[in-house]
Symmetry: C2
Subunit: 429 residues, 2 copies
């Protein structure tokens, strides 16, 4: 079941008795209802974010929805049935007894929750779907020929490391690794010097396919649970030395951060847009990657923002500084195409697999989704409000990613934050 | 606890009341005792291979070893304590009542077991540790400069796909994928034409390290459970088109086969040899990859054989045909160095992670561990006993890998087989 058209649950006039859900600045109005996992008083729980609170899903479901025994899963929490019921029960028109019961027993202040990974991630795949990012990076390495000939024919991707995917807020220890000494072919093993972030969008797989049975582009979105923010931390100097011929390895596997909330495909329905408009002369996708509906609705109008806050900024009371704003709709490939391509060889996806888009960059300079691009490999440093200079990340820097969708006539929905603060290489987190 | 020296459990004169364990040709004498998981009468069980049988470990342990409640894990089945007790209980000197009890209730004929993956594999990493393989492949692509400058400084590796690791015997469906049309930059999506195998050795991780805490070269082997055979199936034409700039993806993720038995580090003690002797002029490994003990005992003298049996060979009664013989001791990097490097950036390994060595090739032509090398990219086809010609794998071909260790004064131990038969692209297995 694909959600390309808004339904009654997207009505912008829905109002809740829970005041914080009505705040025009909240990421989590009634129209959003993203799911998460969190630990509260020692128990791991499934939650749904509403305003400044997280609803304790299992007891809510047992009290108000359950008709029979059902496994209380994230999928159930994200279902259309639960979404409708929540909107009813949180409506300003709900009875005051219901309202009291829920607010006294089932709502936990978000700031007292410790969020954890929503799924045990079987495999993590990272794509490279922004043609602007790929072109920028390619230009630094091969100015005459920045894109490889395969780029417009298939979504380039690689296997990432699942074990080191961590939840937002986890501190990130600067990795050590081998790095080439200036222009030489002799390396040293030292703390990474060119530590970077990459702003990406991730999506979780909601059902598996059998090994040997590809998922068609037409059914691809039925396998997608919802979206989150991803920071694909990257050690550029380690990567430059290690990556040939088999791709990035230790330059990425020290940590990947994700935001705690999965924004469901249904919540995203009002923000679906056509797939990226390919410039004249670009090839039409091959048949297994082409579908009319995907062309029409495959894109997602999701704004992404990246902020930095250095130790000095925190000490001197500066707010986080905006580094870039980009948008997922500028990706050359859609999430449906990523799933169809990933499984086209028969590879099996499993529930909870995480797939990320690759760095989301746009056409303009202020839409570049990593420092490598923003500072053009360090050659154009950024000046921060404190007067500090950044080419790459320093110890004590915190990167904060935000995401939100907005459209005239609809409520803005947000993704929360994906945060990570850099610790020195020798400090244990 | 590292096992570099043979102990009393490696005594070549041990004899068992179980006749098949004494057979000089068995892979599974008393000195071996590899562990596995299998399904028997609907139950998943931990097993230990002895002669032509698999011992049902849990009831054995409960009856003969347990002193207190312990989780019956693969690790326990592979422990020194259990190994010693097994050798005692299976000794020719065991009482006839014990022998009857075990043989009547706890031994299952190996050919009636359905083996399954020994662990739920969290992450699968594939290295590229044979300098002979890397040089051969490099020569085909960059004859003037086959090895990248990083090769002798670090074990090159990449993240593989964990979901599609399958047990020996699983049929392998020929993948479809994008492949470049002759010399052009326009692809077609079709069944892979250049399907290949790669003979590798895999090892399982026995304990995890915390994210941010590297494992030193000195302690690396304490994290290794034992070894198995790996067939890293590869679609060469898909790989050639897709792999730049992020490495192999769909060319590998359709399937990776492993043999069912994990041969423990203790069983391998008599077969430890010095690390690969680096030619004059090659760099000494950096400090985090260098250890005297590892230099002295880090290698493993494990013979690997690859056989092919085509459909026609089966029909006409031909035995499988030997394609290559290579040896793990020829790898440029040791398993300890792989673990130390993998975690040097703080990357966390988890129990059950699978790490593979990459194709094991040797100096000589008959030691090349894949068809790409053996037929030099198809330019030197192989003639089989039926008169058939092979450049790459055809539908109906079965690849059979075997591994064994032998040394004067010790019992030969074997790894069993890793098998896979190629199905046509459109046939569902």
């Amino acid at each position: 079941m694909s959600f390309y058209q808004p339904n009654e649950t997207h009505d912008p006039n829905l109002k809740s008795w829970l005041e914080s859900a009505n705040d025009p600045n909240t990421d989590f109005p009634l129209q959003n209802l993203p799911v998460c996992k969190f630990i509260h008083q020692g128990n791991t729980k499934i939650g749904i974010a509403i305003g400044d609170f997280v609803l304790d899903f299992e007891p809510y479901y047992n009290m108000f929805v359950a008709e029979r025994f059902e496994e209380k899963s994230l999928a159930l929490a994200a279902s259309h049935k639960v979404r409708k019921k929540l909107i009813e029960d949180f409506s300003i028109n709900a009875s005051s007894s219901l309202k009291n019961l829920i607010s006294e027993h089932l709502l936990i202040p978000m700031n007292s929750c410790r969020f954890v990974l929503p799924f045990e991630i079987g495999d993590y795949t990272d794509f490279y779907c922004s043609i602007f990012h790929a072109t920028n990076v390619g230009m630094m390495l091969r100015p005459e020929n920045p894109l490889f000939p395969n780029y417009k024919w298939l979504p380039v991707g690689y296997h990432g490391r699942a074990s080191s995917v961590v939840i937002s807020g986890t501190k990130i220890k600067r990795p050590k690794g081998q790095r080439r000494i200036e222009n030489g072919n002799i390396p040293v093993f030292e703390p990474c010097k060119n530590l970077d972030y990459e702003v990406e969008v991730g999506f979780f797989i909601s059902k598996g396919n059998e090994l040997g049975k590809p998922v068609s582009i037409q059914e691809a979105e039925d396998y997608i649970f919802g979206l989150c923010l991803v920071n694909d931390w990257s050690a550029r100097d380690i990567q430059a030395w290690e990556y040939q011929p088999l791709g990035p390895f230790l330059a990425k596997s020290f940590a990947t951060s994700i935001s705690p909330f999965i924004v469901t495909m249904e919540a995203l329905a009002p923000f679906r847009v056509p797939a990226f408009e390919r410039p004249e002369g670009d090839p039409k996708p091959l048949e297994y990657l082409y579908d009319e509906t995907n062309q029409k609705y495959g894109g997602i109008d999701l704004n992404l923002e990246v902020y930095i806050q250095t130790q000095k900024m925190r000490e001197e009371g500066f707010e986080p500084y905006l580094l870039s704003r980009s948008n997922m709709k500028d990706l050359y490939w859609t999430i449906g195409q990523m799933v169809a391509h990933h499984t086209s060889n028969g590879c099996n996806l499993r529930v909870g697999d995480l797939i990320a888009t690759g760095t989301v960059s746009g056409r303009n300079k202020n839409e570049r989704g990593c420092l490598l691009e923003l500072t053009w490999r360090g050659s154009e440093p950024i000046e921060l409000p404190t007067g500090e200079i950044r080419r790459f990340l320093e110890d004590g820097d915190e990167i904060i990613m935000k995401g939100y969708c907005e459209r005239e006539g609809f409520r803005r929905i947000g993704f929360g934050e994906c945060r990570g603060l850099i610790l020195p290489a020798d400090q244990f987190n």
